[in-house]
Amino acid sequence: MINEIISMKGYGLYVWSSFFFTLASFFSLYLLTKLELLKEQKKYILKFGSLSEEKIEIAKDQKINKEILLNNSITKI
């Protein structure tokens, strides 16, 4: 049964390499996108931390800044 699934009557190499290429492409794109997101988040947090208290208050008034800080841990899939 397992041998049949692997060999697929001689087509196994073609079928498995197609699926492997697809999954490898998915994984690579996911990893690149995730790393890019984490890099930007890290940069943002560092920059946010270096702001004066007055500027932090102004920044916090913008909803989107709050969202970025709040979702920093959520997006770490």
């Binding site: 087509y11 073609y14 699926f19 492409s25």
Partner: protein, 235 residues
């Protein structure tokens, strides 16, 4: 409608949705792979090589669909003068590019046992290669052009010009005598594929769509944080 397309609103939704989309993608992909590789029957003519169709066809559909959206949004940038659309287009392009590459590579792998060759300069395959090149040029335009306004204009033009290729890909099998097989799945009439093969095809398409959504949301968040990073400098 435009209120929903505001970057702030999309960021709020996308930040919350990402992890659920990821979980859903893994579940749908697992079911799709089981159906495609184990449960679905072999074809009476193509034998097990038909299974390649379960990654090749959804990838081609997604690549075409995403580029159509890119072209529509790019046209909207010029018509409505709403530059927020560029964020959506820019975030959609990477997954579209990957899908076009997957369609080309898996098509080539399928071609070897079926046609006896890895590649043929056939109308469908060549037009699909052109689509991948348009994706590449679109993505490169964002990397190369430093002025944001110029990058928006040029990348939008690339997407609009590239859209001419979409009907060529779609109808190439009807307009020319191609090595590539004709359309098997039709919206307006009966499909020539058995339901036992349609099921894994649709599940894999759903998985690919979820993957595209996942990458779109992550890319969109990255772009938004990048913009907000620059905003912090101006405080």
């Amino acid at each position: 409608m435009f209120k929903l397309l505001k970057p702030g609103k999309i960021f709020e939704i996308s930040s919350k949705l990402t992890k659920y989309i990821f979980i859903l993608f893994i579940i749908v992909l697992s079911i799709g792979l089981t159906e495609a590789l184990i449960l679905s029957p072999e074809d009476y003519k193509q034998s097990h090589s038909v299974r390649i169709m379960y990654v090749h066809v959804p990838a081609a559909w997604m690549a075409l669909g995403i580029f159509s959206v890119l072209a529509f949004l790019s046209l909207s940038i010029f018509i409505f003068k709403n530059k927020n659309f560029f964020l959506i287009s820019k975030s959609l392009a990477p997954s579209g590019f990957i899908f076009s590459i997957i369609a080309l590579v898996t098509g080539s792998i399928w071609g070897k046992p079926t046609w006896g060759t890895w590649w043929a300069w056939d109308a469908r395959i060549t037009s699909m290669l052109i689509l991948a090149l348009f994706y590449l040029i679109y993505l490169l335009s964002w990397k190369v052009i430093e002025n944001k306004d110029r990058a928006i204009k040029i990348s939008s033009l690339i997407a609009i010009i590239g859209a001419i290729n979409i009907p060529i890909i779609k109808f190439s099998v009807n307009w020319w005598n191609t090595l590539h097989q004709g359309q098997s799945i039709k919206i307006l009439s009966d499909s020539t594929i058995h339901s036992s093969m349609l099921l894994p095809l649709f599940i894999m398409t759903a998985a690919f769509a979820l993957f595209s959504l996942l990458i779109f949301l992550m890319k969109f968040n990255t772009e938004m944080i990048r913009i907000k990073n620059k905003g912090l400098d101006r405080l």
